[in-house]
Symmetry: C2
Subunit: 163 residues, 2 copies
């Protein structure tokens, strides 16, 4: 790997690390309360399994990203990193999809199922969830570019097998 490529992958890993940490912080601090018919309702991320999964997945990804940053460049574990990058990108994609599906119902509701949108009552909560999703997207994009980069390195330019 050339030096330019090495710096690029390092920057992408740093970006993914920062984005996942930001996603966790924004999601965990998403709280809002509303008074409806004199009853107080609270909205927080931990009430929704999909959002809890999102936080756990982002935590796993950020720990992995941090560990890879400290891996010495001559370590034999680097050969495993490509496989782990695939698994990590999948975990992130899955968590974002699940959280996005629920966030969509929260925003638009589903009249056929009788599920009302809740963003009108809890705008602060919805903004936080939206922000966390955007940060998660940035991390997933960084990992996808990294993955294509790694595959390009292993499989060769224009995807002709090197070996």
């Amino acid at each position: 790997m050339t030096k330019a490529k090495r710096i690029c992958t390092l920057l992408l890993r740093l970006l993914a690390l920062a984005a996942t940490i930001i996603a966790i912080i924004i999601m965990v601090t998403s709280r809002d309360s509303a008074k409806i018919l004199n009853m107080k309702f609270n909205a927080k991320y931990s009430n929704t399994p999909a959002f809890k999964y999102f936080v756990i997945a982002n935590a796993v990804v950020s720990i992995y990203s941090l560990m890879v940053l400290f891996l010495p460049s001559k370590n034999s574990l680097w050969h495993l990193v490509l496989v782990l990058d695939v698994v990590i990108t999948m975990l992130l994609t899955s968590a974002i999809s699940a959280a996005l599906a629920i966030a969509y119902v929260g925003k638009k509701g589903n009249s056929h199922a009788g599920w009302l949108p809740i963003c009108g009552q809890f705008p602060k909560f919805c903004n936080h969830v939206g922000g966390a999703l955007i940060a998660g997207f940035v991390a997933a994009l960084a990992y996808m570019v990294l993955l294509l980069y790694s595959l390009h390195t292993v499989v060769g330019p224009f995807f002709t097998v090197k070996a």
Copy 2:
């Protein structure tokens, strides 16, 4: 690639193709109606964006799986297949996660958001969705095994780079 490996990957691709087609059929035929307070309610997959996404993603995956089956073994496009396998597995994982998140709300509801479970009223619909999700899982598993196989072939046994 040895002959045994080639047959294994062929079988995995056939399994993925069959599973995605079954997932589409089960999801598309998921219909149920219920009378609540003398009003007739219909449940069908197309009322939920996540389920529509699930069907579209499975259709894309099954078309891709079919095309790869007819790719001549000496074709230079095989080098692209590894990259496309990664993309396809991600698409499938994302679709299943989104559909599962919504199906979970349909089954258990979310009392904090005031979303009631609907499986009590539409048991046939819920069973179909559950079946489609299981078929989708089988397809995703087949693709994950295929992917690890391909990476193993490219990166080498014990993930030591061959080139």
